[in-house]
């Protein structure tokens, strides 16, 4: 527990001071804009923190419901995309031909602005649910596949030779050696993909959907200054969803692959 309290002091204290400072600067900046600079639309540009917090509290029911809808949709797409990515990575590691076929396109697809495809996919499918899942899945797919392939490849050579000398079957090599070795890389991919999946889901909602945090965001943005606190609340909920998806992946990583250097008490640094 001694290590834990040291962690609290060295990490959590500075971070909370930072957060507090940020909030104070925000509140002061909002006051400055409103009363000193008298900017038009001051509250839309930088609203009072306490007003936003009050709105968040007042409409927490709606926000949680719509945020949950977004998160669930992103989650479904994320799971489908991640599983497809893992399957493709395993196939690529099994067969040179499949890798040569797929890898150049996997790399090239990283260059295409994937989120730019969102309206096109929405235009094709015309169904918010399906297109949201497709986009979230598509975004998830490639980071996961690339990282997983890297992980499957990065096994210890002596360990591989040992398995070979035991005449291990290929599935045993995969199950006992390659999959555990690939877990850290897999989680790297998942942690890149998770916030992006949320982004994709919100993007589809902005383009015309019935439910989700993006719908309320757009609506309140267009209603003008009177709805500014609600708009900012939706922005904050969207941000929290992104952070939460990342945190969820980090937590899963800690639970499933806890042997990695950065989880040791000294954070892998000596």
């Amino acid at each position: 527990m001694k290590g834990n309290s040291a962690f609290m002091r060295s990490r959590v204290l500075p971070l909370s001071v930072w957060l507090l400072g940020l909030l104070i600067v925000w509140e002061a900046g909002s006051w400055m804009l409103l009363h000193v600079a008298q900017t038009p639309l001051a509250q839309s540009k930088l609203p009072y923190v306490h007003e936003v917090a009050a709105t968040l509290w007042k409409y927490s029911g709606t926000l949680v419901k719509e945020g949950g809808a977004t998160f669930g949709n992103a989650g479904v797409g994320f799971l489908i995309g991640a599983s497809a990515g893992v399957v493709l990575a395993v196939l690529m590691s099994l067969s040179k031909t499949i890798e040569q076929l797929a890898f150049p396109y996997a790399i090239a697809s990283q260059m295409i602005p994937i989120l730019g495809l969102a309206p096109i996919i929405y235009g094709i499918v015309r169904d918010e649910q399906v297109s949201r899942i497709i986009i979230s899945g598509y975004i998830t797919f490639f980071p996961v596949a690339l990282n997983m392939l890297r992980g499957l490849r990065s096994v210890d050579l002596p360990a591989l030779e040992l398995m070979h000398s035991y005449a291990a079957k290929p599935w045993a090599v995969y199950w006992k050696l390659r999959f555990p070795a690939a877990l850290p890389a897999l989680f790297s991919g998942l942690k890149v993909a998770a916030p992006l999946a949320v982004t994709g889901a919100i993007l589809v909602e902005l383009m015309g959907a019935q439910h989700g945090i993006g719908v309320i965001m757009l609506r309140n943005l267009y209603y003008g200054p009177s709805h500014t606190y609600m708009f900012w609340s939706t922005v904050i909920v969207g941000a929290l969803l992104g952070v939460a998806s990342y945190g969820l992946m980090s937590l899963a990583e800690r639970l499933i692959a806890p042997w990695q250097p950065e989880f040791r008490p000294k954070g892998g640094r000596r």
Binding site: Y105, I112, P119
Partner: protein, 301 residues
């Protein structure tokens, strides 16, 4: 948390590198194999497999199937939903000058935003390295900013910076800051402890350690971050243009979808991809020049 993100970033970038080098190697292989192909019939299969031809064939096959409307039958799509490649090519030809100027506009937003964002990120890394205890908090904050969806940032930046080029540059700035901060921090922290000891034994101050050791050591990481940001910044600029814009590829894309001009929408995506690739290649080229300078510096000393 920081450590993880760094690893992701470097992993992606190195995966990219790996792909590039492996394809280069296989190109050479295929050339060699191609020469002996006429003598040995069996070799031709290997030559076909050799990394370049097969993906190329797959790509061509994909286009042909698309053109032959196989996908349309398979997924029950209409031609106005998923236009044929020939229609897309025609749309590009018909609107070439417009598309070109919009691509330039979007690319400008992306480049300006990326440069500002990367500069900020580098500064944050400097602060976090110089004062680890208190500066480290800023690193966590910037990592949290990275998880904020772009679509949530975009309307705010529009409120702040109007609907000119500034708001998109600001969006790109916000999205590119984290990768640079985290990578550069990693580079500055992971210096050789022996070199650090040597600097200490020379009684070098903090500025000197930064000037001669840490910044130099962070350069490879910085370029990794720049390469990640090159692709991310195009996404940021395009998504930013979906909202309030009167120019740019994202604006044209969302508009042509609204009025059901799908071929034009697709041609925006094609041009955005080409622009993104060129941007990436330029950064990669710069990296080669810099790394060369870096290693030659070391070789001469």
């Amino acid at each position: 948390m920081e450590g993880n993100t760094v690893r992701e970033a470097t992993l992606i970038a190195s995966a990219g590198n790996e792909g590039a080098t492996s394809s280069r190697i296989t190109t050479k292989d295929s050339v060699f194999a191609g020469r002996s192909k006429r003598k040995l019939g069996r070799r031709s299969v290997k030559w076909l497999n050799a990394g370049v031809i097969l993906p190329l064939l797959a790509g061509v096959l994909f286009l042909v199937l698309w053109e032959a409307q196989i996908f349309h039958k398979l997924f029950d799509l209409k031609k106005y939903q998923l236009p044929l490649p020939s229609a897309i090519a025609e749309a590009i030809r018909d609107n070439f000058s417009l598309l070109l100027s919009y691509t330039g506009y979007t690319l400008t937003e992306a480049v300006v935003g990326m440069l500002i964002g990367s500069a900020f990120g580098f500064l944050i890394a400097l602060v976090a390295t110089a004062w680890p205890r208190w500066g480290g908090g800023s690193l966590t904050l910037v990592a949290a900013l990275n998880a904020v969806p772009i679509v949530a940032l975009a309307p705010i930046m529009n409120l702040w910076f109007g609907d000119g080029i500034g708001s998109r540059a600001a969006i790109v700035t916000a999205t590119t800051m984290a990768a640079m901060a985290i990578n550069a921090y990693k580079g500055m922290v992971s210096v050789d402890p022996l070199a650090l000891d040597l600097m200490h034994s020379y009684a070098a101050g903090k500025p000197a350690v930064f000037r001669y050791l840490r910044i130099q050591n962070s350069l490879p990481y910085v370029f990794t971050a720049l390469k990640i940001n090159a692709t991310a910044s195009m996404i940021g600029a395009i998504v930013g243009e979906f909202f309030f814009s009167s120019r740019g590829l994202g604006y044209l894309l969302s508009n042509s979808i609204k009025v059901a001009k799908m071929p034009l929408g697709w041609s925006c995506i094609v041009l955005a991809a080409i622009a993104g690739v060129i941007f990436y290649l330029v950064v990669e080229r710069l990296e080669k020049v810099f790394i060369k300078w870096h290693s030659s510096q070391r070789a001469s000393s």
